[in-house]
Point group: C2
Chain length 712, copies 2
Amino acid sequence: MEAVIWKRPCVLALRSCGPFATCGSRGTFGFRNGGRALHRTFILRVINSTGSGAVVARPSSARKYKRSEGVDRKLAALRQLFHKPGLQMDAYIIPSQDPHQSEFIAECFMRRAFISGFTGSAGTAVVTKDKASLWTDGRYFLQAENQLGPDWTLMRAGTPGVPTVSEWLTDVLSPGSKVGIDPFLFSSDAAEELKHTLSTKDHKLIYVYDGNLVDEIWKEDRPKPPAAPVRVHDIKYAGLDVSSKISSLRQNLMEAGATSIVISMLDEIAWLLNLRGNDVAHSPVAYAYLIVELDSTTLFIDPSKITPEVIVHLRNSNVTVKPYESLLLEVERLANCGAKLWLDTSCTNVAIVDAFHSACNKYFENLPKRSKQKSIKERNKLLNAKSIDTEMEGPLAIHKASPVAIAKAIKNGAELDGMRQAHLRDAAALAEFWTWLETKVVQDKTTFTEVEVADKLLEFRSKQAGFLDTSFDTISGSGANGAIIHYRAEPDTCDIVDDKKLYLLDSGGQYVDGTTDVTRTVHLGEPSSREKECFTRVLQGHIALDQAIFPENTPGFVLDVLARSSLWKIGLDYRHGTGHGVGASLNVHEGPQGISYRYENMTGLQGGMIVSNEPGYYEDRSFGIRIENLVIVRDMETPNRFGGNSYLGFEKLTFVPIQSKLLDLSLMSPAEIEWLNNYHSEVWEKVSPLIQGDVHEWLWKNTRPVPVHSTA
Amino acid sequence: MEAVIWKRPCVLALRSCGPFATCGSRGTFGFRNGGRALHRTFILRVINSTGSGAVVARPSSARKYKRSEGVDRKLAALRQLFHKPGLQMDAYIIPSQDPHQSEFIAECFMRRAFISGFTGSAGTAVVTKDKASLWTDGRYFLQAENQLGPDWTLMRAGTPGVPTVSEWLTDVLSPGSKVGIDPFLFSSDAAEELKHTLSTKDHKLIYVYDGNLVDEIWKEDRPKPPAAPVRVHDIKYAGLDVSSKISSLRQNLMEAGATSIVISMLDEIAWLLNLRGNDVAHSPVAYAYLIVELDSTTLFIDPSKITPEVIVHLRNSNVTVKPYESLLLEVERLANCGAKLWLDTSCTNVAIVDAFHSACNKYFENLPKRSKQKSIKERNKLLNAKSIDTEMEGPLAIHKASPVAIAKAIKNGAELDGMRQAHLRDAAALAEFWTWLETKVVQDKTTFTEVEVADKLLEFRSKQAGFLDTSFDTISGSGANGAIIHYRAEPDTCDIVDDKKLYLLDSGGQYVDGTTDVTRTVHLGEPSSREKECFTRVLQGHIALDQAIFPENTPGFVLDVLARSSLWKIGLDYRHGTGHGVGASLNVHEGPQGISYRYENMTGLQGGMIVSNEPGYYEDRSFGIRIENLVIVRDMETPNRFGGNSYLGFEKLTFVPIQSKLLDLSLMSPAEIEWLNNYHSEVWEKVSPLIQGDVHEWLWKNTRPVPVHSTA
């Protein structure tokens, strides 16, 4: 799945964020997520307004869009709530987030879509006493125009002259106004940034704890929170038991002088507890919070999701279960007990952070005067100290990036094996799919819509052992649609796949043992020389990055140029990053590592990380090309180790043929052709045992070596 | 000349600085220069203790080192000055700087060498009432041990456990001590940083304006300040007249809301006024300051340097001349007139910055109370404003990087032509030199010392039209000495150049029309396969960078990986940057651009800039390899211009054969071999008309194409 768009507007609703999103997008919406969430998103699942909480893989054709009705009544109802006792608000912001800054969210959290009628994945709604505005980016201008009612103003984010959310608010509100948010839907960092911006015009940001206002209007129509059962992620795939993982985490806590930590990222909880859920599409996670203390672990989750098997599993790891809703109480209890609480404010919502800070303040207020002064002095000292004295009296908030992100990013042997196995079965499904498509289109002269093709792919994947879900919404783009980087084919409007155009297919699967994400671009007829030149240069970039060897801890952005150089030679480029992290049977986007032209993400690449390698080229209104494999970062055992460094390289996970027809071999060096031939020989060797008949034949034909010519 | 050492300690005395020097070197000496000076240095000219102010190119063999005598008496005399009326100091820091943060300094400024006896190029001396310590880095440990008297302690910077200057000061001084510096020798940023660090232990940094204390001891033995005449840099080389340059600068001032600027970098003054000087070795500059106001320009310089020709030249450009020493008075006058003064605090010494700030404070103190409050309020508002209202009452300091640096970095057509011409004559001199060396060593079986070879090279260069000086001290390193990146051969101790070892020669010339800097590594006998493998990989990196095409404004660090990839493939690397900026008949190191693995320098590459391309590999105690060309950044007229960008690439300036004997052709791709053959064909075409006889023959032999093999 393509990494991140270049200079695209950064929105809360996009959950693109941090390093990837800062450049050229600062403040488009007036505020943005903290750096953390960056890895997690930017394509939201489109709303399925009829679905229940339980998520299964759905064919794309099952999705429907309806123009919302009664928006005006919703707005009026919402505005009435501005005057609830104790509130007196002048505006309310409705972002697209869930309380965990997730990439894919449950339907009960799709409040922005409910209130505005706009169902696109990215957007922020702001309602004042007399105005209602919705910000979204270029992908959704048309859809938003169609879906927004007459009382709404569409704010075309990223267009010259369009204010950001906070610019707009400071403009339309009279000084000293009150702007409300649901504190569960904003990361602490995002809320702080918003608060700061609003304060420049003496506006006040208020946290509405007492229920989300949209929910009060949505009432019984609001989808129930997902209640799908949680399952144990088998130790043969997880590789490390829960006790060992928690023990390492406690080591991190102690080194930082912390006594406890709140984990709120759903994939971190799933990874740490070797659990998988089914609460949202594409990501096998469950809504929950986790508190790990030095001597106890508490999972906050709807108890109805916990099966007997999971009960035993948790008990074996000394994990206590408490209701999801009781988290804040527990956070307050931690403050009262003098906990030194580790909080990752880039992804933890401000409701939690604020609850702890308030409880800390109360703690110190209630102290006898003398010991109070001592404590405050000690506390201030600590804030500047390198190591924290856990003997110090009283609670303390330690704001620091969660240590689970990096622990999760560095896969162990079992996780890597699971990823390898899942990729082979995924490759078999793709071989079957491509055989089917080529036969139908080339031999039978049939055409299909982009949605039909994506549905057929899902059918093939579904037959593979251990298949659970797609890992994101398939991007099925024929011809000019391939040039829309975040293209989403819709049944009513999509193009056909035929033998006249390039066809870009970016898709992935969630398997019990691994997560896949692969893009191939093919032409089922005769590609133009322009298409071949561009495809060849994209492949050259892919090959250059794949072959890179580099010192351990090299930040990903150092390698990004390798994937672009071949395009740059003729003045071409692509407006997205080159690689994102991928979870092991977890989120298809994860951090902290990445490979991008943006220089802010200094995370060094380490052995065991998984990243995508996906350069592309997009010719507006014409065609799109992307070639994506997933790769494992691993030690390369170089003959030298200058500076005592390990030197790392990539091991391929994805084994799907690259269409040789699209190559201009005269542009390629012998070494590049050798890479291609070796890759195809490996594809044949690994995938042919899993397939039969005409698929076998197709794979044979599509993995034959191309001739190495004598000059480059 | 090689760019910058990796993780080498950053010292005031090194004048390495800023982006290049921060990583791994933070605080080794307790303080460092501002970001600006980075481009300017790191190899200081070694002291010639007998020389006069006038500088001519000197053969290396003429340099002498003598163990200083009477150091103790000097120390005692210096300590007595601690108690001068009004001073009462506890310590005095003697850095290696001149008042302009120059790379190469005049002898009268070599105070650290005088007081300590240590003549190495990098070092900082600190004298307290009972201690005297000298910090230097690994290159100079042996030399410092030999040269420092018994009262001095050598601080081996960068060695574990060795404190930085400020760590040491805060340790040995009792709290509340006074540390003195000569404010002319510290950039404002460096002084502020030092002041801040000292203040953590309640020490006070005091600026000793009343003459440098070392000079009071040096007395009449102190070399006179250089008084070499200044000359006009012909418009045919400069390309742009002074009035046009100053007019552009005034445009910059007005855009920033400034009414005046102090320029203190000597190369900026030389460039802006189309003047060249002869005050220091290697850099054709003269000691001066320049103040440009919206309606006047004043050059502060020793009037004896101004020839009648220069007087006319300056008069034509409306430049007034005032004595060098009168600068501070003029700065104070500017404050009194309410000037908005642009100061680049990273390179302007704190004496100047402080003088202006003090005068500003006085200005506001002397205002009637009411108008004072108004002014202060307006001033504070301005500090946060984006544009400055020049109508605001009262003076203002605008701290900002000098606009002259980037203007100077982007060469005009005449400057580029001059550089091209100078490089051809330089190439002819090098062809003569290499012919001589090869004949002597290979045919006549003669050997020479490294110093003798460097002297001979100077002899050949000196014969070329327009030759003025070497552009830095030649690095002539045979065998293991080649692995010492900043090696400096000394007559008494240096190795011989023969046919048994690799020989690295990094040298450059100052010509009337351009500045050169070239490194070649050769073997005059039979290279080992290890040497060939390493040389080939260094060349591959050089070729990859040379061939890069990239969008305009790409920061240099993005390209750095291209020069390293081939080495990384076998686990090798080099501990210096890949490229530095070069002046046009000016300093061999200039900013702001660079190509380095360090990510802090975000300066985008632009057409007209000149950079070096000099990857290397150094095998400790064995051999060193570096291949360096200078290149011009230029538009490449690519068939596409994605995103409306220009795409840039490099045009080679250096035309000196690369020894094919050192290549392992089996490692090279056909494209790489083609690059080499094309380069050599260009060398032959451009340089052969300038040479004759056996040199002609040598060049013919050394530019023959190597065979392109069929696989890579």
